[in-house]
């Protein structure tokens, strides 16, 4: 029996299949456009009322109906940056250890543990953050931070303040922990597809493990690595419940990272159900629109970075 189906029936099936996949692909575009349009329509009253000052105003007052997104944007960006500062190096370390240095019998247990961590719902991270991490952090780490880092000249103000255990820094750390399993498992998959022959050749000419990573593994996987970091960043930007639990949810702009703040997604989670009045609801939707653009910009930046990387390659060879 042949696996090739001949005749009219095969051709019809082919057309059906091609169109089926096409519909699936177009559906994604359609959904993106639909979300965009409905966000724009929903956000319009607020954008019309406040104009561009919506983005730079730090006022968020449901009583007087004066709304600005600056506090939420700042919180979203800063927590995500902290998360990346923690998440990227650690995930990187995990992935390198598993693929290059780990004894064979330990590989599978660590890999499974990471995948299990990735499967934990974000609310669990939030509750763990609130009940376990925040008290520990507030009692033992934050006093130390404000006594040491808080005394430094330039960055001091970022790390001073009462040790509440709850705030922007805590939220960033929890986010960092949350993106680690995700990025680590993608990194590991990427590093594993590097052809052994390349690595062995490098080892063969006397390269150290670090040199192999830097000169062989990373260049070979860089497209995927950038993609994974951006996906991790996307998750950090949009994470809602875990952040809501530990960030302190205060709509004020504070210099110190130890003080409470707010993010776009936690503002939405907190306020959407009880938001009354057109401008209030619309301002919240406008926040959603801004998050949409932030994520879009992150993806665009990732693409741009990749293009730059490939261009460089072209010059070198």
């Amino acid at each position: 029996m042949s696996i090739v189906r001949s005749g009219i029936r095969g051709r019809i099936l082919d057309v059906v299949f091609a169109n089926g996949t096409r519909i699936c692909a177009f559906l994604v575009l359609l959904i993106i456009v639909a979300i965009m349009v409905s966000l724009l329509i929903g956000a319009w009253p607020a954008l019309k009322k406040f104009g561009p000052s919506f983005i730079i105003s730090k006022e968020w007052n449901p009583v007087t109906e004066q709304f600005g997104a600056l506090v939420a944007i700042y919180g979203t960006v800063v927590t995500s940056i902290i998360a990346m500062l923690i998440g990227v190096p650690v995930s990187f370390g995990i992935a390198i250890f598993i693929t290059e240095l780990c004894p064979a019998w330990l590989k599978q247990p660590i890999a499974t543990a990471i995948e299990l961590l990735a499967a934990i719902p974000s609310i669990i991270y939030g509750m763990w953050g609130l009940f376990v991490f925040a008290p520990f952090f507030g009692d033992h780490i934050e006093p130390w931070i404000s006594d040491t880092l808080g005394r430094l000249p330039v960055i001091g103000p970022l790390f001073s303040g009462p040790p509440l255990g709850i705030g922007v820094l805590t939220a960033g750390i929890i986010l960092g922990i949350m993106v680690i399993p995700f990025m680590a498992s993608v990194f590991r998959d990427l590093f594993e597809v590097v052809p052994p022959v390349l690595k062995e050749s490098a080892y063969g000419i006397g390269a150290t493990t670090w040199e192999v990573i830097k000169k062989i593994v990373l260049p070979y996987t860089k497209v995927g690595v950038v993609g994974a970091i951006m996906l991790g960043l996307g998750r950090a930007l949009g994470e809602t419940m875990a952040v809501t639990f530990v960030i302190g949810n205060a709509d004020r702009l504070e210099t110190s990272l130890l003080m409470p703040g707010n993010t776009i997604s936690s503002s939405l989670a907190n306020q959407f159900t009880e938001a009354v009045g057109e401008i209030y609801t619309s301002s919240l939707i406008a926040l959603g629109l801004i998050l949409f653009f932030l994520t879009f910009m992150v993806l665009a930046l990732a693409k741009y970075l990749l293009i730059r990387l490939t261009l460089k390659e072209g010059v070198r060879t």
Binding site: E59, G138, P162, G165, P260, N270, T273, E274
Partner: protein, 352 residues
């Protein structure tokens, strides 16, 4: 092909709709539906399960928040709505709605100060406002010490805790602060979510309770039931009569009994800062909203029968869950109003 699929889809939609509203069956009513406030959800659910065992009538209550409940009753997608804050009479008239108080609770300020036991600390209204405005920042401030001569208060920073989500609890609390302080009214105001001058926000009563438990020197506000169940250190507040009172069932009921229900159009009564020397100053009722003109009088009757049963038989269940039942005087007033306010399309009263 297309038409068949379309008809099938429509049939599905119709089936789902009739399931949702529950009450749209002709004849005998088997289910009633409501949506709204989350605060009374546990007691409504408890009443509903007891009532179902008794009568076979099922209540579908979605605790989606007061705002959502108000939207749904306006759109008539549910048989009744529930809200923690009463609607103003003008708004009731605009949408043809009727409201009545169903169950009460109190908002209780709680503190975490080493060495201070529940009910020991007394705080005057002005001091409470000044703390929430960020003007008083230390527990040994003279304004606090003056009211508490015997207590040894530490020179600790005060960390203010508030709700981060929009909530009826915040509405009642800020309503109280606005009533007792013109400054608060002007600077911050009264709403389900406000621009807090200071402090950190916890999500839900449980969020505030856990922040207060873990941050030393904190002051927050939670529903009475949460303060009780989490053994938080509640404080005494000064009421309008000038007496310091403890939060409990009796002081909440005193506030409700002393309020002017007769003279208030559309039962628009906010139980904060009520007269009477036993009244707890931050008490609040949760309200039920109904359409005044009922398209389906048999459903309206079933809804009212359920609430009538709750008023008469649900008191003990409510107390067990740390809710405060409405005083009998108020119940009688409400049931009188049902007779004249809720009508079918031809203007005939639905109740009794």
């Amino acid at each position: 092909m297309k038409t068949t699929a379309y008809i099938f889809l429509m049939a599905m939609v119709a089936a789902i709709c009739s399931m949702e509203t529950g009450g749209s069956y002709a004849g005998e009513v088997k289910a009633i539906s409501g949506a709204g406030a989350t605060f009374p959800y546990p007691i409504y659910a408890k009443w509903a399960s007891a009532y179902y065992k008794l009568t076979g009538i099922k209540l579908n209550y979605q605790s989606i928040g007061s705002g959502g409940g108000i939207k749904q009753i306006k759109a008539k997608t549910v048989d009744f709505g529930a809200s923690d804050a009463p609607l103003k009479p003008e708004e009731l008239d605009k949408w043809g709605l009727f409201q009545f108080p169903m169950i009460m609770g109190g908002v209780v300020p709680v503190v975490n100060i080493p060495g201070i036991k529940p009910g020991q600390l007394r705080i005057s209204n002005k001091t409470l406002v000044d703390i929430y405005l960020g003007k008083i920042r230390k527990w040994n401030d003279p304004a606090i010490a003056r009211e508490n001569p015997g207590l040894n208060l530490p020179g600790m920073n005060i960390t203010v805790v508030h709700r981060s989500d929009g909530s009826g609890t915040t509405w009642i609390f800020t309503n109280f602060l606005s009533k007792v302080s013109p400054e608060w009214k002007e600077k911050v105001g009264n709403a389900k979510a406000v621009a807090w001058p200071t402090g950190i926000g916890g999500k839900g009563n449980e969020g505030v309770a856990s922040y207060v438990k873990r941050i030393r020197g904190s002051l927050g506000y939670v529903e009475y039931a949460y303060a009780l169940q989490n053994r938080l250190t509640y404080i005494k507040l000064k009421n309008r009569a000038g007496a310091f009172v403890e939060p409990n069932m009796d002081t909440f009921q005193a506030a409700a009994a002393n309020a002017d229900w007769e003279g208030s159009k559309g039962f628009y009564v906010v139980l904060t800062d009520q007269p009477g020397k036993d009244s707890w100053p931050i008490t609040g009722a949760s309200f039920i909203l109904l359409q005044k003109v009922q398209d389906k009088p048999e459903v309206a009757k079933a809804v009212l029968s359920f609430f009538d049963w709750c008023y008469k038989n649900g008191q003990e269940m409510a107390k067990k869950l740390d809710y405060v039942p409405m005083p009998e005087k108020v119940v009688n007033l409400v049931e009188e109003a049902w007779k004249t306010q809720i009508k079918d399309k031809d203007g005939n009263p639905v109740w009794p």
